[in-house]
Point group: C3
Chain length 656, copies 3
């Protein structure tokens, strides 16, 4: 199997999306000259080139792309070549309206933006396959080609008739019989029993709440259909270039496809990552996505897209302050990235993203941001030989599953305040602040490589996953489990008792009497000065728990809030940030998990990759870090002994 | 005419919706065993059973229901049998798309939720009649059957073409000629004059404000069409079982059908009531709905649905704290309920309401909530012989009319802050806090049985209602009238002077110069320390008022805010809660209306039903109530003399 | 060319929309009697009369209008006659669904409101022309007719198929070839290149961001199509009455047609103006609209619609306090209005605007508001001979362009907080508070008549406009330019460097490194105690600026916030209100621009029109104004020397 290492060959890929079809060809030479000056060694071509390659049905215009591929190659820049199927040309939609997606209310999404394709459209798939075939045939032997990039940020939904037909096929495959579907979806309630497959639809507009199992399956179906689109194109390019790896860029905390499944189908896992420069926990958000991506990749991965400066889709789009792009880029490397790429190389002057920054912005080569892009290129080249291909060590597993997310964040739930992504972020943030490096792990996967496992919320928990957790604790693992876990089974059916009985036994809970979700801003007191937010629970212990923190005051006064039974902890509320950090640090210490480095200042993130120690300073002042022993800082070449001083957004990459 | 008494026969009905088609039959036996243990004597079957009874067009499967009816009967549990017409099976929508409702923008509401039926669809009506016919024929003679429950929470709108045709028919009936419609709707404005009946439509999407009289008539039409659906099914079941009463469960403060008209067509009036357990005035909200329902029933009524714990449709769904379900259930009995039922018996494990609590929740029989359900069953059984069938005494009438509501709460009005339901709630709350029991009365109905009448807001006031108010005051009644009353006539036409001239004469108002609605949060000062909210008025008195409280400060300084002329009071703002309570207590005292009991603590609600005095404590501490004389507390059997002590959510039912 | 002077003939027109078709004819006589008592000399008839004139296709009923025209004439009241084409009768929509507009999601806007016509519909245009033709023919010779009023508040959009076809035609005319369109729209990005004209659509629903140049052109197209509708009707009436002027009432800060272009096609410029009586800067908002309208008219103009009291489309609709209607009406006269008219004469009792005030409100002739209407009529008659037809003097030009607005306020921009209208308002407010009278000027127009020019924000700046600004400064003009100016060219293409290089050279800016938009509520400090809001910029000066105020603190510490080079100022943030006022006053003083009067109290607005000095007091207390010399107050006839005392909302009109 081709791998990312085949592409990097000891380097860190550096570059980004290059969309030169926006510019006259005379600019291309300047682009390449500036790329070389910036240390760019990889560009992504063709992401939105369908209308250029196939301006009219069946035509092919590859000449411009030939020239670009050659130009890249002549300049020693590798090409990540994208299939252009994320944005069909206007003629596709006009001649083939069946390729256009339809929303739950029946509105069609038209061309004039992007991603206006239906994953279920046979016509779309046929046209996408044809252009992929020709593209792959054309460039299979081109020496610039290093990696295939299929489509872009797969994320569309379709509720139209062709999608409905495919949904039925998918459901037949899942359930076999209509009876099984009726059972799984609980259609006996509200008189929804299907008597004929043709009655089954995507969750379209209803008068009141939709069937949640239908909604869940539609999310699963959508992920699978998009994955089919991916694998169809992957198989085509693989046929032409079996030696080259294939990837697609995902947005794991946004679009919500099942990235675990997707990663299995990719040779290289790549991700798009856009933390808000104005978010004080932007770096932690980045760390979470990086941990997740590395875990899916089971090794080095690609940061396929980030922004050198501002994006343009937030309400207020702040640029990256001086040093931040470098800091966050090196953070990605610390957490396993062997490619640091931006969308896009040269900022557009026209179109919907003309205010999204580029590596070469409107301010031009003298612009502050571009000067930083150059500095980063040099830094990456300096550390690459020491880091490329190496592994990140993490003792803590954070458990995450998209199906649990889809099942949890539905209408008609106990509280709309308990967003899955927000809970995942809160727990990861607490671990990050405790300087504990994490992997993100699927709940059915082997946990024995981690001393400690943390479950922010797994609303849906399969039998296999429940058994996995129990076995992990039996095997000596330390498990910390947040509320709202083990509520439903794989079919979104509430577990007897409202919480999986295996989990209850694991934590020493006899009865879960009631959920007590909290109003926004409300808190609940717990012994030991801990305050809970968002949620609380009326629990009855079974007497086997060895340690308990009780609620204080209010309706739950005296009832257990936190239980420990052996190495299994249950936390029935979301502790405030400091309290959650301290609790997790305490549990980690008990589990023998140490911070990456003792005595780290709050603002400094430390990560070990291979034999290197990355120190990343997220503050703007100056800070000193005690680092026992003597190291060489690969970025400066300096030898450091005992302590390292980091300035604003400073980074040290220490080799023994 | 069959009545509720025929069903209760000295008991209080206790139980709820039982949807056992969700469960394997082996659970049914457990259900019935647990019901008996909890004192359940009535269950509602079949509410969402259409797809079970008629899985394919024209088929009938009654076997499962036969077994359930028999099982209930064998266990001494009466059955409220529902027609299943609120949620047609998927095949109905697929084979008959004309049965599906369409919104104002043209979107169709599909199956996959519930209530996806058009009241105007001839096909729907035919199919609903057929299954109702067969259901009634099947169980007419079944000994378990006690009451018919038609459909469920009628509340759907339809703007589609068949509804448009029915709307035109309804309008022809109302207005006779197109000229009369044009006059009533004021179509001379904005060039809306209709020249042909076929031009008349439901209020669909427009560029700017819709014709308000058209919107009002569409609300009336919708209520009438849904009522036609009800009466059609009622007539069918009545033909089979003329001896059994018929009801349907309404949501009077939500869906907005004209419950006065509906009550006339029902044998038994029943209601669904879901106050927010977290709302400090949840109990008063309950009291208002209970007063309204009792007034429509003109005697005992059914609480058809409440929740034993949390619901699942709020943003944050709080459970009922220990004791609250019992307190609120007994409050309903105090205010006239002879049936206390829950949705639903056993909490669902699947479907859209799986997080809506049940009498038997996910926690099972040992769950705290279920234990309380058992206690409540015992309490109800204890007091039933003393209370069932008896009347509630109330001296104060609160006037309410749905047509006034529909006319008031439209776009293009003076203030969007003055929601009708909120005003009704605010005035009722002030009376409730003053320990004054209220009936809710239609403004055209006889008021002479009440010493005091309160009009929160009757934006639309018919001539007959205006005359009724005048006659009431002439006859010695005390009338208190809030702002925004008598503004429009039955056709939504503004009364000359902006307020009915009869009312102005009644209160001593010469001229209503301007409305001065207040911005959210703003207040206006009035003499006597009273502060007004939401609204104020620039009024000119005619010199006949005997008492006046003037505005202080601002643009209205010195102008009358409150006027009294004889026993007629006009209040041109919404006083802050304490001030409104005090004002109404003062007026009541003047009218010879006393609180239910003197010296009641704030947290204790007192209601007299039959010869009994209910004391309901809405607080969590302990409170002592002075009760002159000696009574027996029917709940405890204890004799109490002079004073009663009530604990957290405590209730006493005192017999002389 | 006929002009407004031909209508006013030394008078100020006073009156408003008269929609007597809402009332029985017996009321018409009362109307006219009350109009005369109030000094009304002009009424607008027919705005919404299509269904009355043409109740069925092709019929004509003019008799009622004949009687009204005669009645007006007999009473010396001139008639502004409206074509009734803003609200087609129901039969038009039913028989000709192609006349109905369609929104971006495909929803049709139906009759039942108003303005449900598509500017692009050939059928609509044909029917509108036919009724206009007959109306003009009928009344061409009527002695009451003084002015034509075409349609009403043109503002509708249409995304339907016929509009799409016209859009393509418009685009062909603009661009000639599809290649040119592709280039202008930057369709090479996101694979949007059009290969066939038929692929080009209005900006309908897309999956993600729309092409911004397409959106901009659609706004231009919409303005042009509506203007075609206007000119088509104008040409018809002009043929019948070449001696009479033609106007249409625009809403320049709301609907967003290009009022510069429109004004060129009108004989008289008229405006609808509805400041919020509760807005502390309502008067300034009025002043801005008045300045803009006067500037478009290049002389006297009509206030076609205002409200005598409350409107009904805000969330909370406050009435006008005593004196405010007079004050704001006289403000309009001060700023050039020769007509002060209201919507509408008699307040409706029915329909969607029954809670919109009238000159004769629901309270009737004795109502406070109507009494004020009478007083105003007398005031206007008193000052008219001295003011009608005269010019307003203003030394400051505020530059404004609708195309810049449309280009700026799109999705996908750096900050959604920087609304164009809000910025325009903020800058004008600062000038107004500094007592500087302003004209509003198109950026390509001659600026040499103004000593100072202010650019709040011209996101899109054409080459011609940029050259105009440079030439203005070279010629000695003082230019003050706000941020976000000169960003894109006429095709919405970002200028190299992110800001027009001519502007950068003008202000001494070498490089615009980054935009730093601010989060809502955030501020940034600048030297001299100035604080900026909404926006900041990372600028690098080129050393030619003569004066600089630097940012203090934060990421931009020490970088230039405000630059002056000669008489050209650049302000890279929005200073807080007082600071902006002071800055502009300082710059004005340097440019030799003096306030209208020295030492004016904050609450007093002063404007010079012809030889008169208007003093307008926007406060409720009493205030004294120093006015050197001796004047006669035309409103009171009093002679004032040295100082004038103004009471609540007081006005003085001082003649030398």
């Amino acid at each position: 199997m081709p791998r990312l290492d085949d592409v990097t060959r000891g380097r860190i890929l550096y570059g980004g999306d290059w969309n030169p079809e926006q510019w006259p060809e005379e600019i291309w030479e300047e682009d390449v000259r500036l790329m070389r000056a910036a240390g760019v060694n990889s560009v992504t071509l063709g992401v939105f080139s369908w209308s250029r390659i196939e301006p009219r049905p069946g035509e092919r215009d590859f000449g411009w792309l030939d020239r670009l591929m050659d130009l890249a190659h002549e300049n020693g820049i590798g090409v990540v070549l994208a299939t252009p199927t994320a944005s069909p040309p206007p003629w596709v939609g006009r001649l083939h309206p069946d390729t256009l997606p339809v929303d739950a209310d029946g509105h069609t999404e038209l061309w004039g933006g992007r991603q206006h394709f239906s994953h279920s459209s046979a016509t779309y798939r046929r046209l996408a396959a044809a252009i992929t075939e020709d593209l792959a045939a054309r460039y299979a032997a081109h020496p610039a080609l290093t990696l295939w990039h299929i489509n872009n940020e797969y994320c569309t939904h379709d509720h139209g008739d062709e999608a409905a037909a495919r949904f039925r096929t998918w459901l037949r495959h899942r359930y076999g019989t209509l009876d099984a579907l009726n059972t799984a979806w609980g259609t006996a309630f509200w008189s929804q029993t299907y008597g004929d497959w043709d009655e089954v639809l995507p969750p379209r507009r209803t008068h009141y709440l939709k069937n949640p199992a239908q909604v869940l399956d539609f999310r699963r179906f959508t992920s699978d259909m998009l994955l089919e689109c991916f694998t169809a194109e992957r198989d085509i390019v693989r046929r032409h270039t079996p030696h080259l790896p294939v990837t697609t860029n995902v947005m794991p905390l946004w679009s919500g496809q099942d990235a675990w499944r997707w990663a299995e189908e990719e040779d290289v896992v790549s991700v798009d990552l856009y933390p808000d420069p104005d978010d004080p926990f932007g770096a932690q958000h980045g760390a979470l996505v990086q941990d997740m991506t590395r875990s899916q990749a089971r090794g080095p991965w690609m940061l396929m897209e980030q922004a050198a400066g501002a994006v343009n889709w937030r309400a207020v789009n702040r640029p990256k302050p001086r040093g931040l792009n470098r800091l966050w880029s090196l953070q990605a490397v610390a957490r396993g990235a062997d490619a640091v790429c931006c969308f896009q190389w040269r900022q557009s002057r026209q179109g919907a993203e003309k205010y999204h920054s580029g590596m070469l912005g409107h301010a031009g080569p003298e612009g502050r941001a571009h000067q930083e892009v150059r500095r980063l290129g040099a830094d990456l080249a300096r550390i690459a030989p020491h880091v490329s291909g190496s592994a990140v060590s993490a003792d803590v597993a954070v458990l995450h599953d998209w199906h649990a997310w889809w099942a949890a964040d539905q209408e008609g739930r106990p509280s709309r305040e308990t967003g899955h992504a927000e809970l995942l972020g809160a727990w990861h943030r607490a671990l990050w602040r405790a300087h504990l490096t994490t992997d993100v792990v699927h709940p059915e996967h082997d946990l024995t490589g981690h001393r400690m496992a943390v479950v922010p919320q797994l609303h849906l928990l399969t039998d296999r996953a429940a058994d996995n957790l129990v076995a992990y604790v039996r095997g000596g693992g330390s498990l910390v489990c947040g509320f709202g876990t083990g509520v439903v089974d794989e079919d979104d059916r509430v577990r007897p008792g409202g919480m999986d009985e295996r989990l209850r036994a694991l934590f020493g809970i006899r009865t879960l009497h009631e959920w007590w979700p909290l109003e926004p801003g409300a808190t609940v007191d717990v012994e030991g000065g801990l305050r809970g937010t968002l949620w609380s629970e009326e629990l009855e212990a079974d007497g086997t728990a060895e340690e308990t923190l009780a609620y204080r005051g209010g309706e739950l006064d005296g009832l257990p809030a936190v239980l420990r039974k052996g190495s299994a902890w249950y936390v029935s509320t979301l502790p405030e940030p400091d309290a959650l950090r301290d609790l997790l640090a305490h549990i980690a210490a008990g589990a023998g998990v140490r911070p990456v480095l003792e005595g780290l200042p709050d603002a400094v993130e430390a990560v070990r990759r291979g034999g290197l120690l990355f120190l990343l300073h997220h503050g703007r002042g100056e800070v000193t870090v005690d680092v026992p022993g003597t190291h060489r800082d690969l970025l400066t070449g300096a030898t450091v002994t005992g302590r390292v001083t980091l300035g604003r957004y400073g980074v040290a990459v220490l080799a023994p």
